[in-house]
């Protein structure tokens, strides 16, 4: 077996059995990591593959979370049924807000997306349409139910969250190694050349936004179910920064890197709790060191490999 395969197997096995040795507190930390991992993977489609500096991902997460919270508390629709709907709502919201700004580049896009996340948060605080519960938020969200089994404890949530994360990883790996994934990379590398090669850059950027938002919206459903209370404090600009940092620091465009980033960015501050007041200082110093020594992230994106065995010997293009 290749070393990479062995590492994969070990990581998956460890994650499968980890909750048996951990108390509720640490499982809850892992659950947070899991949700951030899914959010960062969804941001990775926009920021990592397509290279769009999007700092407002918390806005899409918020739309998904509130969709679940509102529909569950108002109409009693089972939480997990709301997952695709929350994804669609977030995706539709992304379509509306990304469309006019899709041509912006780099820092300009960054600033506008920061604006979006603030607008959403303030709209939630101001109880827009009278359905978001203002700054108190919404409480009393039902526990999710899977095949008649109600998920309550952190240990139970652990398997729901990491199950969803596993599906996300599998699907996004396929996405990365496809025409769609390549198209986003071409746009990141040089969008004029991409258009000159026949790729509709504006369309693909928009689809990247919608897909990333769709996934963040679905993560919102799980978040709402886990918290049972949602409020605007969970969707501040800082949340967007955390997701952004996970992707950039872990290795943008690399799923393994993003997963590792989620563990480090969300997990390390917990580990560093013994430093008490200095923990964020230690954490910040660690981040600075990593950016100095690994500027492309801890695990930079690897080139794709193609199996060309099916091509029997040399053959001519048009000769």
């Amino acid at each position: 077996m290749k070393p990479a395969t062995i590492i994969n197997v070990l990581v998956v096995a460890t994650l499968l059995v980890a909750p048996y040795w951990l108390n509720a507190y640490w499982v809850d930390v892992l659950n947070s990591i899991g949700i951030y991992a899914v959010l960062a993977l969804s941001l990775n489609v926009i920021l990592g593959y397509a290279g769009l500096f999007h700092m407002g991902h918390a806005a899409f997460f918020a739309v998904g979370t509130y969709t679940t919270a509102i529909l569950n508390t108002q109409f009693g629709i089972p939480v997990l049924w709301l997952m695709p709907l929350s994804g669609l709502t977030a995706g539709f919201f992304a379509l509306l807000v990304a469309r006019p700004i899709i041509h912006l580049r780099g820092d300009y896009l960054l600033i506008v997306t920061i604006g979006i996340v603030e607008i959403v948060r303030i709209a939630l605080v101001n109880n827009v349409f009278g359905i978001t519960g203002g700054s108190n938020g919404i409480f009393g969200i039902n526990r999710p139910e899977l095949f008649g089994y109600v998920i309550r404890t952190p240990h139970e949530f652990y398997y729901l969250i990491f199950g969803f994360a596993a599906i996300t990883v599998l699907l996004f790996l396929r996405l990365e190694n496809s025409r769609f994934g390549r198209a986003l990379n071409y746009i990141r590398e040089d969008d004029v050349a991409a258009e000159g090669s026949g790729i509709d850059a504006a369309h693909y950027k928009l689809v990247a936004f919608v897909l990333g938002a769709f996934w963040a919206g679905m993560a919102g459903t799980i978040f709402a179910a886990k918290m049972t209370i949602v409020s605007p404090q969970s969707f501040t600009f800082w949340e967007s920064v955390v997701m952004f940092t996970i992707v950039i620091l872990g290795g943008s465009g690399n799923i393994r890197g993003v997963l590792l980033g989620a563990f480090l960015i969300v997990g390390l501050p917990e580990v560093f709790r013994e430093f008490a007041g200095a923990r964020m200082l230690v954490f910040g110093a660690a981040m600075i060191l990593m950016m100095i020594f690994r500027p492309k992230g801890i695990l930079p994106a690897q080139p794709r490999t193609y199996n060309l065995d099916f091509l029997a010997g040399p053959r001519g293009g048009g000769k």
């Binding site: 699907l171 996004f172 396929r174 996405l175 190694n177 496809s178 025409r179 769609f180 994934g181 390549r182 198209a183 990379n185 071409y186 590398e189 040089d190 004029v192 050349a193 991409a194 258009e195 000159g196 090669s197 026949g198 790729i199 509709d200 850059a201 689809v207 897909l211 080139p303 794709r304 193609y306 060309l308 099916f310 091509l311 040399p314 053959r315 001519g316 293009g317 048009g318 000769k319």
Partner: protein, 263 residues
């Protein structure tokens, strides 16, 4: 000559600020020919290319491709119609492999999207295989098959130009626009390029090229169009152009300097 040309520019005009980059330029490119666009630096040659490929919008005038007006069409749409190009300043996806660069050209002839990729449907896999086959074939055609997994930035300058041609050919064009394809090539590489352009024509692809290497231009072009200060000052067979006094004064007589137009 067939009744209607593959490409017809009529009264094409484009100005930047107060500068007339292209002024009332009209010429035809017939099916299956190799046409050269020549002129001193800053004459507006690359601007004409950028107008054809939709990178710029003309102020006025028409561009008919196969009888269809392509003015105001988006670049990627124009590529899909069958016009492919290379860039004067090489614009490859530098950090990606040669193979993936050519796969970019295959993109517009493929259909699978994000959902197809996630579900990995049978036809999606088949399409991927076909694209790989085409991409490897085009790399073979330009002589880069052995370097298909090299990152584009690691290829020599001449090979990067060839890779751009392979990427353009992978879009299955009917019309190929080459912007200084021999730029930065040595004599041997230029000779290989001449053979390659002739082979491209044999595949039924019409070629329009900008080139400062007069030797190359005189050897392979059936027709030349000469621009100076955005105005077309002559067009015709290479032999006639060589004798044209205005062209000699404006360009051929002048020493060849290698400053590049910007794009």
């Amino acid at each position: 000559m067939s009744a209607s040309p593959l490409l017809r520019l009529s009264q094409l005009t484009k100005s930047f600020g107060g500068v007339m980059a292209v002024n009332q330029v009209s010429f035809d490119v017939d099916h299956g020919t190799i046409v050269g666009l020549i002129g001193p630096n800053g004459a507006g040659k690359t601007t004409v290319f950028n107008l054809i490929t939709g990178n710029y919008r003309p102020d006025s005038g028409e561009i008919l491709f196969d009888g269809r007006n392509i003015v105001n069409m988006r670049t990627n749409r124009i590529v899909t119609l069958g016009i492919a190009r290379t860039f004067q300043t090489i614009r490859l996806f530098q950090n990606m492999s040669a193979l993936e660069n050519v796969l970019a050209g295959c993109h517009c002839r493929m259909r699978s999207g994000a959902i197809g990729a996630m579900l990995r449907l049978p036809w999606q896999k088949r399409e991927e295989r076909q694209a790989l086959e085409i991409a490897v074939g085009e790399l073979e055609f330009v002589g880069l098959r052995s370097q298909l997994d090299q990152a584009a930035r690691n290829l020599s300058y001449g090979n990067q130009r060839l890779l751009e041609i392979a990427r353009a050919l992978a879009t299955k064009p009917r019309f190929l626009i080459l912007d200084e394809p021999a730029g930065g090539m040595n004599d041997y590489e230029t000779q290989v390029l001449v053979d390659l352009i002739n082979q491209i024509r044999e595949r039924g692809i019409t070629v329009l090229l900008i080139e400062h290497d007069m030797n190359l231009v005189m050897k392979i072009c059936e027709k030349l169009v000469v621009l100076e200060y955005g105005v077309m000052i002559a067009q015709g067979a290479p032999m006639e152009i060589q004798k044209d006094q205005r062209v000699i004064d404006a360009y051929l007589g002048a020493p060849d300097d290698d400053e590049d137009e910007d794009f």
